[in-house]
Amino acid sequence: MDPATFERETAINREGYEALREQIRRDHAGQYVALAYGRVIAAAATYDETVAAVEQVQPVPEYYLVFPADEEPSFEPYDAF
């Protein structure tokens, strides 16, 4: 993913998550959540089920995060220099 797309998608999803945080924690407690386009696109009991649900979306989003509903999504990349 190119840096410009990453920055743009991160901003969209940060903003979306800020608006959805409480709803995600309430409606998806105990689940994993996939976030893309600034909204929840999938949720399931396990990480693998959540990823599998995202892979069914057409087109599969280039940018999406998967995280436990009771944790903050990791918007910031880690560095492997």
Partner: protein, 140 residues
């Protein structure tokens, strides 16, 4: 305090022994593996990653983006597990057991341990003996 040490390999790389869940592995020390969110402390090859995952030794997962030295961004899966230093001579676990995320790297990339793991080693010290080319960890 007792300490464990590893001699630099002939190529100049430093390797150390770490237990990830129930799996003992040798990892290259990589101070360029940095997570500003202080979550990811190691990257391991897909074979080991999926072995740990299949054994049910990851308690949580995360889909993260990683950035390499060229600035390229790609996504990776990370799992949370217990990690502990292994004494290279006695082959026993020493020092504190810490919880840290382990990321799945690309095939063929050496298993690596980074900054976050060392920062989790409460009350420990890293001693880098430059003349002797030894990487040592003191533990309580």
């Amino acid at each position: 305090m007792p300490q464990v040490c590893w001699q630099a390999a002939a190529g100049g790389r430093y390797w150390m022994d770490v237990a990830l869940g129930n799996y003992d592995t040798r990892v290259m020390i990589d101070l360029g593996l940095i997570d500003p969110l202080r979550l990811v402390g190691l990257e391991v090859d897909p074979v080991l990653y999926h072995r740990i995952k299949q054994a049910g030794q990851f308690s949580r997962f995360n889909r993260r983006f990683r950035r390499d030295a060229s600035g390229r961004l790609s996504w990776t899966e990370s799992g949370l597990t217990a990690a502990q230093v292994i004494c290279p001579t006695a082959r026993q676990r020493v020092g504190p057991a810490v919880r840290v995320y382990v990321s799945c790297s690309a095939p063929g990339v050496p298993n690596r341990v980074g900054i976050v793991f060392f920062h989790r080693l409460s009350r420990c010290r890293v001693l880098w003996e430059l003349d002797q080319q030894m990487w040592c960890i003191e533990y309580p």
